[in-house]
Symmetry: C2
Subunit: 295 residues, 2 copies
Amino acid sequence: MELHQLRYFCAVAEAGSFSRAAEQSHVSQPSLSQQIMKLEDELGARLFDRLGRSVRLTETGQTFLPRARAVLRELEAARGDVAEQKDSVGGTVTIGVIPTVAPYFLPERLTWFSRRFPQVRLTVVEEITPVLLDQVRASKVDLAILALPVRGHEFETFPLLSERFFAALPAGHKFAKRRSLSLKDLRADPFLLLRDGHCFRDNAVAACDRARLHPQIIFESGQFSSLLSMVGAGMGVSIVPEMAIEKKSRCRFVRIEDAAAARTVGAVVLRGRSLSRAHHAFLAHLHDSPASRRS
Amino acid sequence: MELHQLRYFCAVAEAGSFSRAAEQSHVSQPSLSQQIMKLEDELGARLFDRLGRSVRLTETGQTFLPRARAVLRELEAARGDVAEQKDSVGGTVTIGVIPTVAPYFLPERLTWFSRRFPQVRLTVVEEITPVLLDQVRASKVDLAILALPVRGHEFETFPLLSERFFAALPAGHKFAKRRSLSLKDLRADPFLLLRDGHCFRDNAVAACDRARLHPQIIFESGQFSSLLSMVGAGMGVSIVPEMAIEKKSRCRFVRIEDAAAARTVGAVVLRGRSLSRAHHAFLAHLHDSPASRRS
DNA sequence: TACGATAGATAGGCCATGCCTATAGGTCGT
DNA sequence: ACGACCTATAGGCATGGCCTATCTATCGTA
């Protein structure tokens, strides 16, 4: 049973004649007759009564007609669905983001994007890098925002912004008024750092390693705001990325000169995945959105 | 877009692999790949993400999958419908019957058939012969029961029974006790006959013509029972077919010897029409039903 | 890092089958 | 009885689906 057979069948049923149906279907009458006969053979039942002058549906044909139409209708619905989806920016975009980026980078971009494309449903998950990468691999998240670089050439990356690290110092710290400092300068200070697992902790530790600094870590937390309030209370110093600077906190922020004291935040997608228009739009907006001009 | 493409698409979606889908679909992997690609081309959208190890539906593919399945499901439903109808005696049979046969011949046969095939819905229309033949031509009635022969070789006829005509005489008529008579014997009697249009009137008049009898018609009616009660009242004589004899009436019925005083009742269908099993069953039962043994 | 294994894409040839034209057979109307 | 119309049949052509062989890329393993 083939689709063109169903189309021919419906055409004959509507036209009441093989010849006219053939004409309307843009095939020759014999071709159409053949296909109808083939269909009848396969079904094991006649669909039309060929009465000299006119052609009429048999009882079987009458029950078959609505079903054949249903098949063709479903087919058009399928085609239409795809076509519609193709030129509309809609659907769902699931974004993964690491905790050290999420609260600073995303909110304004999300609202900006949502205002621009209200038909797109946004979902955000906040996880540490290895979890996010697994979810990208499994297509559970479409796009992850995290610190570059990432290992594995199954990923495609798009750098979004680079930022330097800043030392967070208590107000009375001796370097609190400096415009910048070197990590070595903090050799004597106790450190407050993010908990293990956060990539920014690794970034910070790596930068210290480069500076031959082996900080004494007296406090670990999962979020910068905890660290900063402890620093503000004078417990020690910390390192934060530029986007995590809280002007209103009791800390002073001084730029760290070391070359390694910087990170690049970027988007990661699974290489080879086809991205919907919504995905592309979101990626583009990560660059374009007015919020990004702030950095 | 072709059905096998949809089948392949669903197979890949289920198997999660082109190779396995090809195996399950009993085609080679390149053939299947080709068809999927062709489908994607036609839709203008990728349906699968080919990621080295595995194959996953794109967003478009995900919306297309249920629609493709719906098409195939509808197709199976269509096929099943026809198959089911093929080996079941069901549906509707519409019977046409002339008034001079309807009340005598049909009732017992209808109930007998309905008891035997309760799934078949019977519809009966009572009309005079030319109307019935038109309706057979238009397939408004599937089968007509009327007096043979009929003109037109677009019809196929099945004789059911032959019956002789009887004279209906008042109880005191001089031939009332005879076993039989000739139409000529009624030369002096006033006649009561069916109204024009009824084929039995034509039968009766034709028989009279043959007998060189030109009866004086003093009453016409659309039904035998009216004629018979008038005859019973002594108004004149009438002619009725055997099946219309009412034993309980005040008339006497005497067989008419004339060769032309007989009719054949039969079934008529449109030549070339395919008859359902229900049609065939009904036709067969017109011969077989116990009621027919009465004649 | 290199290798074999696995999976999908590509190339090229074969053959089924759908389409065509021409024509036959049958019915209808004149 | 003839011409007009409609469907079925016959025979040839070509599109296109399927095949095998091969290529390429990725993955797991040595």
